[in-house]
Assembly symmetry: C3
Homo-oligomer: 332 residues x 3
């Protein structure tokens, strides 16, 4: 696919310095750019490198407005953001045609919207509903009655249990499991064995959510697990039953969230964080990597970074680390 700089500038509401007829066919980093590629720079320090690269055009901030440039510039307030948006336009043509592969097993009662793709060996269960423009990757298993919105994309080998609903523009990477049983048992004192507590609730994933490879999100026990609109989840993340995740939450790889925890809007959670059951992380808090939040705790502080186990404000944590270091001075 190819797009001219003039078209990109219009779409991004950016100014062009230089030739507006340049054709952009790809995106690249400063070190790998070739002819036809678009690159971006966020500070003046990298501008010379960008101009010396083989790229055909450079997205830059206002700092570049007076440069006598050897190649075309797109001037924007947020170069990284403009580059991300440009990617959508440049790469748009590379998506495949809607197609139902002959090896896909689609139940007679499943309802597929227009332009739905179902790839080889995928299975779509009874009464499932797949919205217009959604694509189901190779080997996916879509359980009975599952509903998926429009323009969503499931990469290969995603499993969705019955009782799960996905919104529009949801992206799920390979191997993710959505709607699996939560982890709940009751010990029977008469026999000393565990009896399974019913795990029959729903899993609701709202629109614009992205879920990483091999992540697992459990259905509710009796009520629902919910992932709010615009939330982004990395690889190998675990989210337990009844968890409520708000809007635009970011959850990095290998984090685990236990049952009935509440993660409010705009929380940022780094990698390998552990959140125990019934915790509440209030809006806008930031949890540092590997931090741990014990059962029933409430974490509040918009923009405050918490770290450690049990997690405390990072300033406090760093002071404690420093005190610990002082303690061992001269003790060899």
């Amino acid at each position: 696919m190819s797009i001219t700089l003039a078209e990109l500038a219009r779409a991004l509401d950016a100014d062009v310095l230089g030739d507006t007829d340049v054709c952009i066919t790809g995106l690249a980093s400063l070190t790998s750019a070739k002819t036809g590629d678009l690159v971006f720079v966020e500070s003046e320090n990298n501008l010379a490198t960008a101009l010396a690269s083989e790229a055909s055009a450079v997205i830059a901030g206002d700092f570049a407005c007076k440069v006598q440039a050897s190649k075309s510039l797109l001037l924007c307030t947020h170069p990284r953001l403009a580059f991300a948006k440009a990617a959508d336009l440049v790469l748009a043509g590379s998506s495949h045609m809607a197609q139902i592969h002959e090896s896909a097993e689609i139940h007679l009662t499943a309802q597929l919207g227009l332009s739905v793709s179902v790839a080889a060996n995928a299975v779509v269960g009874a009464n499932a509903k797949i919205g217009e423009g959604t694509s189901i990757g190779e080997g996916c298993v879509i359980g009975e009655g599952v509903e998926i919105g429009t323009n969503s994309k499931l990469y290969p080998r995603v499993t969705i249990y019955p009782g799960t609903r996905l919104g529009d523009n949801v992206v799920v990477h390979a191997g993710a499991v959505l709607g699996s049983d939560g982890f709940g048992y009751v010990k029977d004192p008469a026999i000393g064995e565990y009896v399974k507590f019913p795990q029959i609730g729903a899993l609701i994933i709202e629109g614009d959510v992205e879920i990483g490879a091999n992540s697992t999100i459990d259905r509710g026990a009796l009520d629902s697990t919910r992932i709010g609109r615009g939330t982004k989840i990395d690889n190998l993340v675990h989210i337990g039953h009844n968890v409520q995740v708000g809007h635009r939450v970011v959850i990095a790889a290998q984090t685990g969230i236990s049952g009935s925890a509440i993660i409010e809007d705009d929380v940022v959670i780094a990698g390998q964080v552990g959140i125990a059951d019934h915790v509440r992380i209030e809006s806008g808090a930031i949890l540092g990597a590997q931090s741990g939040i014990p059962t029933n705790k409430v974490i509040r502080g918009k923009g405050v970074v918490f770290w450690g186990t049990p997690a405390r404000p990072i300033k406090e944590y760093l002071k404690q680390l420093a005190a610990l270091t002082r303690l061992t001075r001269g003790k060899d």
Copy 2:
């Protein structure tokens, strides 16, 4: 499926207060209950809410015996346990008929018991034995010679390597990998490269075990890895080669157990715990979330909670945290 309160009371050995002809068709929480649903309350505090809900009947403790109730009550010593058992009865009818899907690839030499289900695109290898009433989900891969007991349930896309045996009533959630190679190499000093140590042992999973989505359990190197009867394993758990896990062990999400560790009966392991190789966790110990047990350690103390890395009794750990906090007072 529908069951009367009289039938439930008989099965649960409970007393009914009120109409015994009420039909129960589902289970729910206090907030989501509709007509036909059964709910439960464990304390008197929630009884009024339960009675005000739309539920058709309430499981409650003896505290409710004198209530002038507006709906039928089932009185039991352990309401949560009774509710869990009731779920089995109420939901029993919802399971599917035994069926071998035409797209399943079942080797000629595989032996399937009566009423075995094999779903679409599942693969059952040579000489595998699947016990009566067991169901194999979509896209599962059952390796050569694998044995699975009766009434077990494999959700979609489970992979079982050759050399693995599963008992009766085992449940394995989607994406789990059972019997993969352990992580063992020997460095060859002549060339400075790693040579793989043979990973040819078995994996034995006893009856009544449940294994969460995308968890991985490795086969033994030369001997066996073993998961004892009644043990429950959450999502994204890793269990290494030669590990011996006892009966009724509970292992929460994202915990990792390294090679040759021994976890005795009735141990409870919270989420994201790390257990190094050759550790022994003695019967009944409890490991708090994110705790870490270094190589060769023995953890003992029935009912004692351990926390931190390296894990110590929680009382000690909390004292140390408090001391650390005191150290930094007035140091701003």
Copy 3:
């Protein structure tokens, strides 16, 4: 498959004490050995047990050279290494014949080398290239244009995204996802939502790499993620976009490596370690289990063990733990 001790001795450059015509048909531990099995001992302490076992032959160190043995001995400088190498020879015959299963979906434009196996329900995309002797397990999904070298082995249900290249002799265990999108977004201040940063780089996995079950390795954002020759990766490991991993790196289970980190040659990383973005771990460093390396840090020290979060040399960490313990003495 069967091999004589004489043949083994020749291949391993070892000396035989005793009968060289003994036939070896398997490998075992000291406790499980049966007739036909080979066992090994690394110290004199275990020699008597080995000789008393049912094994047909014993690999031992030079310490055994004067033993009046009741069974044949293979004498080597590195018994464990010799045993690992012997395993390759003894087990060599057990591999399957090359075969393309009729249910495999192989694109017309895919190029398969000689003796390539593709198992049931595997999918090989357009323009993929699979090298001679490589086997693709059941249900694997090999994306468009993926290249895999010779003699590699993919266990069932591996997913490889387009843009990924694997070298020769690579082993990938079940459920692993290679080349998935990295986790990168840009917040759009105008609407407060995340816009995806392009994740269109490559993933390059060099020869002799082994990757554990359900691990995930992301493609680069604009450039490449690279895993160097001879590196061994355990189960449920996450490796983010643009990460550069050197040669012979060992990464134990559940470790996570964030974007753009650099792991140099011969680094050893224990389980559940967290490495933040843009970290550099210099050649030969050793990271203890659960340790955490904060953003932008450089860890150096060949053979030095680091532990804790933030990771510090283990001697320092242990001193701090000891100081903390002293602080709480007599404070009950």
